[in-house]
């Protein structure tokens, strides 16, 4: 497999993303509005919400923003772009470049979400190293599974609704693991206690990645 094509595809994604600033700004605004709604509805007091409510709110916010941002990796692309990509790259190269790009995007969204949460609500995280590791692993998981599902949903009629319906059951196992590891990070307990959850997340990521790599060519061929 040719890595230079993957790098070229990644460059294309970044250039396009930087050129369409409105899309990035839209995503940022979406995240900001979600967090602001959380802040307003829970009525600002630090002691009103417990760290566990914080973690639930945080992961819900991240889930919704991530599904919306990864969804557009295949949904809404013009047909011509697909045909062009078909001629210049193999499906494996395309899915790998999409996964890498979406991982970065998800990671950026979750870190930005974390920052906004600590500014507006509060920051209950005691072990930030573990928490960052959870964010990174969850981002990889979200991007691997959602990229493939975005590819499936893009072929259907009502793709935006379908994206949510298809993706939520699939990402729940990633989300559950992430929430459990977050709980450890919130309590600040010994790091050795979280390794299990992190390894599980990594294992789920590997399964999702391998399946995405094997199955994507079948979606692409049409």
């Amino acid at each position: 497999m040719n890595t230079s094509i993957i790098i070229q595809l990644l460059r294309k994604e970044f250039i396009l993303e930087l050129r369409r600033k409105s899309v990035i700004a839209g995503l940022g605004l979406y995240l900001f509005s979600l967090i602001f709604i959380c802040y307003l509805t829970f009525n600002l007091k630090e002691n009103v919400i417990s760290p566990y409510t914080w973690s639930a709110l945080f992961w819900l916010t991240i889930l919704f923003s991530v599904v919306n941002s990864v969804a557009k990796s295949f949904i809404g692309e013009k047909k011509g772009v697909f045909i062009y990509l078909y001629t210049v790259a193999s499906p494996q190269q395309i899915i790998i470049s999409k996964i890498i790009y979406n991982t970065l995007l998800c990671w950026l969204i979750s870190v930005a979400g974390y920052m906004l949460f600590s500014v507006f609500i509060f920051n209950p995280v005691q072990d930030s190293v573990v928490f960052m590791a959870v964010l990174l692993l969850a981002s990889i998981g979200f991007s691997t599974s959602l990229s493939l599902i975005s590819g499936i949903a893009s072929k259907a009629n009502n793709s935006n609704v379908l994206m949510a319906v298809l993706s939520f059951p699939v990402v729940i196992s990633i989300l559950l693991m992430a929430v459990r590891a977050t709980k450890n990070a919130l309590d600040g307990i010994d790091r050795a206690a979280s390794t299990d959850e992190l390894l599980n997340l990594l294992a789920i990521n590997c399964i999702a990645g391998a399946l995405g790599y094997i199955l994507f060519p079948y979606i692409w061929r049409s």
């Binding site: 072929k155 319906v165 939520f168 059951p169």
Partner: protein, 220 residues
């Protein structure tokens, strides 16, 4: 499906229902007579997982060699698997009502099973929203495989990691550990086989109906 298999399935089910309801069961605290749920609830989940496994098997075969027949079989298995899952859910809730005190206890095993059903309902939604038959078969096949792999940790791994009151997970011993004595095995194993055979029978009927429908459309 062979006729003798159908006969065996029916005879076994008659046996399971009479023996399962009348035969003596071990006396256990809390469980009491509800232990008989083992004969009806557990085979549903065994059947569901096996039927989903068959569905994935035909999805893989379809992707390797796209013939409409594999797709028809894959959907039929998924349909019947979902029916088994819903029945398993209902029988489980009935059992939970008497042993745990409420039908829905938020047990990890229950939640995992509910999500597994959601996955396959999403699969049917996906099939409904694709018009082109060839595309529908291919994309839903891909989703089938992906969703099955995502479902495995939900049903088999996560409930074992957390504390769960379901027998067989979270440190709770399964029936094996303390009471599945030879009398219960005598009913339990035939029950699993019989329900699975019934599942296969329904699948074969569904596949035949689908084939006949296609023939009628061709005639017209």
């Amino acid at each position: 499906m062979k006729v003798w298999l159908k006969v065996i399935a029916v005879l076994l089910l008659v046996y399971v229902h009479t023996a399962g309801l009348l035969m003596d069961v071990p006396r256990l605290n809390i469980l009491n007579e509800t232990v008989r749920a083992l004969y009806f609830h557990v085979p549903m989940w065994f059947g569901m997982v096996l039927l989903y496994l068959m569905s994935v098997y035909y999805a893989i075969r379809y992707l390797k060699n796209p013939t409409p027949e594999f797709d028809v079989k894959s959907v039929a298995y998924a349909h019947v698997g979902t029916a088994f899952g819903i029945l398993g859910m209902i029988t489980g809730m009935l059992w939970a009502n008497y042993t745990w005190g409420s039908p829905w206890h938020g047990d990890p095993k229950q939640n995992g099973a509910a999500i597994a059903l959601l996955v396959y309902l999403a699969y049917f939604v996906l099939r409904g929203s694709l018009d082109n038959e060839e595309q529908r078969a291919r994309l839903s096949g891909v989703y089938n495989i992906f969703a099955f792999a995502a479902m495995i940790p939900l049903i088999f791994i996560i409930p074992r990691l957390t504390s769960s009151m379901h027998p067989g997970s979270g440190g709770n011993p399964g029936f094996n550990a303390y009471d599945l004595d030879s009398r219960m095995r005598l009913v339990f194993y035939p029950a699993v086989i019989a329900w699975f055979l019934i599942g296969l029978w329904i699948v074969s009927l569904r596949v035949r109906i689908k084939k006949l429908e296609e023939k009628i459309i061709e005639r017209e």
